[in-house]
């Protein structure tokens, strides 16, 4: 979860697609989606539908940290390295 928080925090407030998160975190789909579901249930992540980039493609889910998620990410960042936080929200 820490790796995922790290990447979402680095991109905040922009939302990230699942596949891009997989590539950036190195997590497999079988790990990423259960984590995202759990974080969404806990109110740490919110999901939104993005319209397709190409016609004929389905809309995609994109994920971003909620204020609680951002607070947790900041708290964890204070405890140790939480990746490259350049550009992350203050």
């Amino acid at each position: 979860m820490r790796r995922l928080l790290e990447r979402l925090y680095a991109h905040a407030p922009a939302a990230q697609h699942g596949y891009e998160l997989m590539k950036e975190t190195g997590l497999a789909s079988g790990t990423l989606y259960p984590l995202l579901m759990r974080m969404a249930d806990q109110g740490l992540v919110e999901a939104e539908w993005h319209p397709p980039a190409q016609p004929g493609r389905p809309p995609r889910h994109a994920y971003r940290l909620t204020p609680s998620g951002l607070a947790l990410a900041r708290e964890l960042a204070g405890q140790g390295p939480l990746g490259d936080r350049e550009g992350a929200p203050a």
């Binding site: 596949y19 789909s29 990423l32 989606y33 259960p34 759990r38 999901a47 493609r57 389905p58 889910h61």
Partner: protein, 211 residues
């Protein structure tokens, strides 16, 4: 082939996630298109399926869905197959020298237990066996749909068919003990379905998953 398998796995994932998580199923399906374009849809779809199953173990609703699928796919459908194959090899109006294996795999020799006088019972026995087997297919679907009324009606019908099979076998002078094993299997199956239906009635509504 890989593409079709990946989409089949994704459909199974959506089915496993259920209506409460349908948005997540749609989200995974949309990303599968991206994974497909990147050349590894199967790995992505397999990951989603196993991840979903692992997640489901964490909440009562998920555990129930997994057990219902295991019962339907792992018990009800194989029983349907075994009954059909046994009927095809002449159970219960034939005797097999290899016993159960003779009826399931066709090994050994089979001897007709009917004579000219009661041969007329053979089509009825075959029909009842195939009917009992065929009834299992919709039952498996209804279990997954949690349609316990239909499952109950089908189970009562199946029990009536097996009782009739036993009576007709007795009338045709066939040793009724040959039917003990299928009756035991069907009784165990009905007990398992009843247990599942009772479990569902105790499930909390809209339980939050505990991961």
């Amino acid at each position: 082939m890989t593409r079709r398998l990946a989409w089949t796995l994704m459909a199974l994932t959506a089915r496993s996630l259920g209506p409460r998580r349908s948005d997540w199923a749609r989200a995974m399906a949309a990303e599968l298109e991206v994974a497909e374009a990147q050349g590894h849809p199967l790995r992505f779809a397999l990951g989603c399926l196993f991840g979903t199953w692992r997640t489901m173990l964490g909440d009562a609703e998920g555990r129930f869905t997994l057990v219902a699928h295991a019962l339907a796919i792992g018990v009800v459908l194989p029983v349907a197959g075994m009954l059909s194959i046994a009927a095809t090899f002449g159970f219960p109006f034939m005797a097999a020298s290899d016993g159960l294996a003779g009826f399931l795999f066709g090994s050994g020799e089979r001897t007709l237990l009917l004579n000219v006088g009661n041969m007329i019972a053979a089509p009825s026995l075959l029909f009842l066996m195939l009917l009992t087997a065929g009834l299992h297919l919709p039952v498996a679907w209804w279990i997954l749909d949690r349609d316990w009324d239909r499952v109950g009606r089908a189970s009562r019908f199946g029990a009536a068919a097996v009782t009739t099979l036993t009576i007709v076998s007795g009338c045709a002078a066939i040793d009724p003990t040959t039917l003990i094993l299928p009756i035991w299997v069907l009784a165990a199956e009905i007990a398992a379905i009843f247990t599942l239906a009772t479990w569902q009635s105790h499930l909390p509504r809209h339980e939050q998953p505990a991961f």
